[in-house]
């Protein structure tokens, strides 16, 4: 059914008016937050590199150094791991299995759909297997206890980010809530062009229509708060005691002689854009945390990690990355207190190969 910007601006999930809010709405964001400040966990995009975050969080559990985060916010692969993290360390084994036993064939099937190069019915099946009614009950209980689980998608029709209140959805219970919960996770990880968009049924101004949602990373590789609250001139006080940001990516440029094929060129270009976005967002989050007097903690894939990957979602690569994350999580210093320096800054490691260093 045709719909207008006004219809979409007013649209809600039928029967679940508290299921979501615009990611740029300050009032809705503040209304959705817990009543008490606490530590926040922010989980970034990263695809298969989500194995790093999964390992890190397992390692933090093993070191008994993982609090019950007051707020967990995930985007893309960060969204896929967020429900397990939010529900507690008893789901660590599931989290580990998802990020070490999953292959490309469990995520997508080669072949265009008319809306994308690949078909994600395997990922949809994987989400349906792992996102169980029991998991939703645990998430609902934590939500009722005052904690919050948010997942970000991008509403392509509106060109705006959407924050889904996954705890509120879980608390609704029933098949409709379970189906929506799974659809939101699929949408949050649906890289536009590569993966098909996810259509979500809504109601606005008396009309029922389907919005088109894609990867939350389109609007930013991670989400702490609406951009207007994160800008350098804002005097907003983030109601957190600590920010823990898990970057499921390395931040160093990766040298690769690019094959002259469309997918390879797109992939390398997107990878470069993502790293630039990650660095800018991290810098902004650091400034906001300092301004607010709250702790800033960031974990990224160490620059030395260089395991080979045979194609996308290579389980051997993901196992190696999980182990790196696990060791870092279990170590005495799992997070850094500042973002890694930008390339070219005096504190950074040179990226250029050294003469004679390529032997």
């Amino acid at each position: 059914m045709p719909f207008t910007a006004a219809d979409d601006a007013a649209a809600v999930i039928p029967g679940m008016p508290d299921a979501r809010f615009w990611g740029d709405s300050i009032t809705d964001f503040e209304a959705a937050l817990p009543s008490q400040p606490g530590p926040w966990l922010i989980l970034s995009t990263g695809g298969a590199d989500g194995a790093f975050g999964a390992g890190l969080l397992n390692g933090l559990s093993a070191a008994r150094n993982r609090p019950d985060y007051a707020v967990v916010i995930g985007v893309s692969t960060g969204a896929l791991m967020a429900p397990f993290v939010f529900a507690g360390s008893r789901y660590d084994a599931v989290l580990k299995a998802v990020y070490t036993q999953t292959s490309a064939a469990d995520i997508f099937e080669v072949g265009g759909t008319g809306e994308s190069f690949l078909n994600t019915w395997p990922l949809k099946d994987l989400i349906a297997r792992e996102i169980t009614p029991a998991l939703l009950e645990d998430i609902a209980a934590a939500h009722r206890g005052g904690r919050r689980l948010f997942v970000v998608t991008s509403n392509l029709d509106a060109g705006r980010p959407v924050v889904w209140n996954m705890g509120a959805i879980a608390a609704r219970g029933g098949d409709q809530a379970l189906k929506l919960f799974r659809s939101v996770l699929l949408a949050s990880g649906s890289i536009p062009g590569a993966f098909p968009p996810v259509l979500i049924e809504v109601e606005g101004n008396g009309k029922r229509f389907a919005e088109m949602h894609v990867d939350g990373g389109v609007g930013g590789q991670f989400f702490v708060a609406p951009p207007a609250l994160m800008e350098s001139t804002s005097d907003y006080k983030i109601p957190a005691t600590q920010l823990y940001i898990v970057i499921n990516s390395g931040l160093q440029p990766d040298f690769e002689v690019v094959e002259r094929t469309t997918p390879t060129i797109l992939s390398q270009a997107v990878s470069m854009a993502i790293k630039t976005d990650l660095r800018d967002l991290l810098d902004r989050a650091y400034v906001a945390a300092r301004r607010n007097g709250i702790g800033f903690n960031v974990a990224t894939i160490p620059p030395g990690f260089s395991a080979p990957s045979r194609g996308a979602f290579d389980p051997n690569y993901m196992k190696a990355l999980f182990n790196v994350g696990y060791d870092q999580g279990k170590s005495g210093r799992p997070f850094a207190a500042e973002p890694p320096p930008f390339p070219g800054s005096s504190a950074s490691v040179p990226n250029d190969p050294q003469p004679g260093g390529d032997k």
């Binding site: 265009g112 190069f117 194609g311």
Partner: protein, 136 residues
Amino acid sequence: MSKLGVVTAIAAVSLIAATMTAIPSYAAQKRATLVRSHAYDGLWSVLIHTQGGPCDASARYPARIVGGQVLQADDDFSYRISGAVVASGAILVTVNRGGQSATGYGRLRGGTGDGRWSIGGNQCYGTWVAMRRAAN
């Protein structure tokens, strides 16, 4: 001839039999009916594992079988898939992608199947498993 070559040859002979024009005898007509079975018709998904060589660790391709012929199941022109399956379930499939050609052979049984695949000269090789996702 290597074991791989023998099996491939057997599969190829089966396919030639499957695609032959039936000669007008009762036995031949009966045989043609058997080989032109629709038992495997439908939309299949094939999961490919690489055991050796520098190819991707795994991949999944769709395929459609109609009257024993293996056909492209989508409009993706980045690869081409073709082949045939006979009434016994023996199957031979070729996938062309990026200037390379992979050949797979094996057997379908009801709604599942498995076998082996390779790229010319065993540059890459491995196994495949298939499942039927829809009857048509």
